[in-house]
């Protein structure tokens, strides 16, 4: 696949460019936090408690007199950190699980995918919630919970791709030519699976970030003193009357990151999906991963067989 081609298609997509900008701003904010922040996120200023937005404190201050802009900037670090690590872990594990299942087939495949089905039967946020309940709250456990909840998505994609690839003439040909399993996987499976995983990882980043902030909002995620957007929103609740800015800015930042990676993920899918190249179906296909979900669901054999498949 020509990377420049794909990049060109991505940049031609207006929504995807918006996504890129949103994510870019948040990433820059996180990277440059020490330079941009007016104060350290923990610095308290007793003279400026609950100060409304002003030049000195562009986003205002919280009930301890901490500068909200600084906390939002440092919060971006936590969100991105949790999101990226969790998605990296679940992509990697999902890839391995999917490869094993798709390649081994037979009973290994059915057992592994059954387990994945069971995990998927729980909505991800709830699953992460229950895992947090069992492990206890800490930054590390949030990463574990969120990654565990998303492994099945990546495993499914990889497995599906492996199953179709194994049947294709070019893979059969290279097997007939005596290529080893490792070579088959590296040369033929990876190049076909990785674009799909990148797309899935980008959209799932949005959900991982949401999951982290939801858990933190509920008090089960990131613990003080790490500034997390979700927890900042919980802490803002008693001050809704007096200091509504506390409830607004962390949410805006969160929203920018989530909507950005959603748009970017969808844009990447359109840009990377070779099936769409120059086809008139591109427009129709640009309806989002949710429709894929529905498609996947409706492509499941409808005939009831008592769950024995």
């Amino acid at each position: 696949m020509d990377v420049r081609d794909a990049a060109g298609r991505l940049l031609a997509n207006r929504l995807a460019v918006f996504g890129l900008i949103f994510v870019g701003v948040v990433v820059l904010g996180a990277l440059l936090a020490p330079l941009l922040a007016p104060a350290a996120p923990e610095t308290m200023d007793a003279t400026a408690r609950l100060a409304p937005p002003s030049l000195a404190h562009p986003f205002g201050t919280d009930d301890f007199g901490r500068d909200l802009l600084s906390r939002v900037l440092y919060g971006a670090r936590i969100s991105l950190q949790v999101g990226l690590i969790a998605i990296a872990v679940s992509t990697l594990l999902g890839l391995v699980v999917g490869l094993v299942a798709g390649y081994a087939r037979g009973w290994v495949d059915s057992v592994v995918m059954r387990v994945m089905d069971v995990v998927m039967a729980f909505p991800s946020v709830l699953l992460a919630l229950f895992i947090m309940a069992a492990l206890g709250s800490s930054l590390r456990n949030v990463v574990i919970a969120v990654s565990a909840a998303y492994i099945p998505f990546f495993a499914r994609i990889t497995r599906g791709q492996v199953l179709t690839l194994v049947e294709t003439p070019f893979v059969e040909a290279s097997r007939a030519a005596g290529a080893s399993h490792v070579r088959l996987v590296v040369r033929h499976v990876f190049p076909n699976v990785i674009p799909l995983l990148i797309v899935q990882a980008t959209t799932n980043l949005a959900f991982a970030v949401l999951a982290e902030s939801s858990l933190s909002y509920l008090g089960l995620g990131t613990q003080p003193p790490d500034p997390s957007w979700g927890r900042m929103l919980t802490e803002a609740r008693p001050w809704m009357n007096k200091a509504p800015w506390l409830s607004i800015f962390p949410g805006l930042a969160l929203m920018a990151l989530v909507i950005g990676s959603n748009l970017l993920g969808d844009g990447l899918r359109d840009a990377l999906d070779p099936r769409l190249r120059g086809s008139t179906r591109a427009r129709r296909r640009r309806v989002g991963r949710l429709d894929r979900l529905a498609e996947a669901r409706s492509s499941v054999p409808i005939v009831a067989d008592g769950g024995k498949t």
Partner: protein, 301 residues
């Protein structure tokens, strides 16, 4: 499937370092004998598979154990928290459908128009909007700034219908909007798919009015994916309701669960997890059954 889920739920609760006795005793020093007899009392002195069997046996006879905190049976606790959650689920599904189905239809029929662009944009915003932030904004706008609606609480429908709907309004709109965002895209893409079918062309060719074509031929077929999503989204709705109940202080299943998690009241956590899993699996089954009613092509063997 149900077996797998029950193992998952059971296993998850056994991931906790230390057992219930350790948790209960906390700092209190216990001599090993007392601890041992307590373990025997709770039935956690036997191998894990035996515990699982005992647990399953109890569940199948409808006994989910007792709450450690209140001492009341888990089933009673869940039963009394069910009302607010069920009301919220029903209302937010309604809100979602009322918004999403017309919006999805319009954006598909007028594809690439400004209306389509607005719907698409709104659905992106809705999907990316965290439930707790949307809820916060609604509270800020509608109950802090203008004191039109209560910011939270719960009144049963059976006590006072008006007040009950007023307290449910904000949480239902919060969850409903998120749900609508998901549903809109499904309705739109299903409509577009169906509009291209031969039978739609035939219906138009034989001179039916557009309204009849849409209502009789298109909508009926669009219902299938829409039903699927409504069924599947029930899981999302449950997750969302845990958060929404926290935002709007509704004494439902979600709050029961969270309080139980904080109090380390594991029988309750386990019971709620199982309840969620059963609801979710049942919804999947119902979706499959509903298919056969909507689409006569699908029949069960």
């Amino acid at each position: 499937m149900l077996f797998g889920v029950s193992v998952l739920v059971f296993g998850l609760m056994r991931l906790i370092p230390g057992d219930a006795v350790d948790v209960m005793m906390g700092q209190v020093r216990l001599d090993p004998e007392t601890a041992e007899s307590l373990r025997r009392l709770f039935g956690i002195d036997v191998p894990i598979w035996k515990q699982y069997l005992t647990w399953m046996e109890a569940i199948l006879s409808g006994d989910l154990g007792r709450s450690i905190r209140s001492g009341r049976p888990v089933t009673t606790e869940i039963w009394s928290a069910l009302g607010p959650t069920v009301q919220l689920a029903i209302l937010s599904t309604l809100v979602g459908c009322v918004i999403a189905i017309p919006a999805g239809i319009v954006s598909a029929v007028r594809q690439n128009s400004w209306a389509d662009a607005v719907v698409t944009l709104l659905s992106y915003v809705g999907i990316s909007m965290p439930v707790f932030w949307l809820g916060t904004l609604l509270i800020l706008g509608l109950s802090v700034r203008f004191t039109w609606l209560p910011a939270g609480g719960y009144v049963s429908v059976f006590d006072d219908v008006g007040e009950s709907l007023r307290t449910a309004a904000l949480p239902a709109v919060t969850l409903g909007l998120g749900f609508a965002a998901l549903l809109m895209r499904i309705v739109r893409s299903a409509m577009l798919e169906t509009l291209r079918q031969d039978y739609v062309r035939t219906a138009r060719a034989k001179g039916l009015r557009e309204r009849v074509v849409l209502l009789r031929h298109v909508l009926r077929n669009v219902l299938i994916p829409v039903l699927t999503v409504i069924g599947l989204q029930f899981g999302w709705l449950l997750g969302g309701s845990v958060i929404a109940e926290q935002v709007f202080v509704r004494p439902g299943i979600g709050r029961l669960l969270l309080n139980a998690i904080f109090a380390r009241d594991y029988p309750i956590v386990q019971g709620v997890a199982l309840l969620f899993a059963v609801i979710f699996l049942t919804m999947n089954l119902l979706v499959d059954v509903a298919y056969s009613f909507v689409d006569p092509k699908i029949r069960y063997r």
